[in-house]
Amino acid sequence: MARFVMIMDTRRCIGCHSCTVACKVNNELPVDMIYNPVFTHGPNGVFPHVSMTYYPLICMHCENPPCVGCCPSGASQQEADGIVWVDQNTCIGCKACIQACPYRARHENPKTGTVQKCDFCKERVREGLEPFCVETCHQRARIFGDLDDPESEVSQMVNSMHTLQLLPEIGTDPQVYYIVTPGGQG
């Protein structure tokens, strides 16, 4: 069984926002909707001991997604390969899932009245392609793959390096792993 995950290697991210644009253009998002922003954290510290980190965001495709449990219509769902998505035909736009998401990964579309979100480009990845944001990243800061495959790059990185999850205390077990410390050995 596959378990799709993403690694954000913040050592490599240069904050160019190409992933944001690639996603918006290829997924034809409304002009004011962003699935994967790149946050700038910092600069922190006092010169000469300063640091700044870019945090590329995306839906965390949580192992324990709070946005699925709260959905009253069953539109918000999780596939066996971990992908969390919203069926646009059954979503009624109650916005409970937006309230439930700690990562601001869900967006209301005023035109359709529904809620939409990143689905890891599920049609592409099931054909063996990469999501648009990963394919476009010229620094290879976004790495996508199957955590259940011991040969995959993501599996080897997650199991050999020190990675962080965002807001793990909420209990969602997010499946986007961040490599933050220089050298990745934390």
Partner: protein, 308 residues
């Protein structure tokens, strides 16, 4: 571009109306089963049903796709689904309970059946008051709501507003009790509401105090907004002053007069509480999030319209 409030005034108004209606049918059901005085509160059940129906209409109005609202009933495991079923049933049972009372009602004499409906109303009324608190409290991302105190607060506030509204309506048509004989009833309702108000006042301060001093930075910031920040007028003036303390004082000081004023103030307090809670929906910020969104153009930037 700060995250906008995903739930606004329709939800806050619904929370008030649902709590009000739920509280009213609990009061009527208890009065009927425990004291045999259901007749005094018969009109209240009609009003409660209307309040819950208006609240449910607001919920539907707030949806992105209002005409697909029936899908809310379709999933089994979500709290919102359970709530939607409870609301639908409660509207029916509160109207049904009212229908036993008018003289022309064909089932006016079926007292056993009426008691059964009263019992169902008590369970459903408590459920309607409390489920909204569980729904909001279960959203762990919204840290100010994520506490078991919220359903308790909503229940106490709902019952308290229910008692207040029933005391305003007690003895109206189709009840046959003369207005002069209601003195004892009003005294009983006042003591009841007084106890609830004192308990709610304690709950409110426990809630805000706990958020202020023992939880994370976001909850502490929201609690500070209530206590000393931009929401302080609403909190101290609207909720604590007008909605809780003043009716408590009125109930204590003037046993005979002032009952109506106090009851109206309790209703205002219920509205203010729901608005304060619904608009306190901040998340824990992600690293760099607020800076990022503050640099984005607002929703009325001209280039956004240029595409259309």
């Amino acid at each position: 571009m700060k995250e906008k409030h995903n739930w606004g005034w329709p939800i806050a108004s619904y929370l008030f109306l649902g709590g009000l209606g739920g509280g009213m049918i609990v009061v009527a059901g208890l009065a009927d089963l425990a004291f045999g005085e259901g007749e005094l509160f018969s009109l209240g059940n009609l009003i409660a049903g209307i309040a819950i129906a208006i609240g449910s209409a607001l919920l539907i109005f707030e949806l992105g796709r209002p005409f697909q609202f029936w899908r809310v009933l379709s999933r089994q495991k979500a709290i919102m689904t359970a709530g939607a079923w409870m609301l639908s049933l409660t509207i029916v049972t509160s109207f049904a309970y009212f229908s036993f009372w008018p003289d022309f009602s064909p089932w006016h004499q079926l007292i056993g059946l009426r008691h059964l409906v009263a019992g169902i109303n008590i369970v459903l009324g408590v459920g309607v008051c409390i489920y909204t608190g569980i729904l909001l409290g279960s959203l762990r991302a919204r840290v100010f709501w994520n506490t078991p105190l919220l359903p308790v607060l909503f229940l106490v506030s709902g019952i308290s507003t229910g008692v207040a509204a029933q005391s305003l309506l007690a003895g109206s048509w189709p009840c046959h009790v003369a207005a002069g004989e209601l003195g004892a009833l009003h005294a009983a309702l006042r003591s009841c509401d007084l106890a609830l108000l004192v308990f709610e006042l304690i709950l409110v301060f426990v809630y805000v105090g706990m958020m202020r001093f023992s939880a994370g930075p976001v909850t502490a910031r929201i609690a500070a907004q209530w206590l000393t920040g931009p929401k302080r007028w609403l909190f101290w003036g609207g909720l604590v002053g007008l909605g809780l303390a003043l009716p408590t004082i009125l109930y204590v000081l003037s046993p005979a007069a002032g009952g109506e004023t106090a009851a109206l103030l309790v209703l205002i307090g219920g509205v203010v509480l729901r608005f304060l809670v619904v608009y306190s929906d901040e998340r824990i910020p992600l690293p760099g999030e607020s800076e990022y969104y503050s640099r984005l153009p607002g929703p009325d930037a001209p280039f956004l319209k240029a595409w259309e």
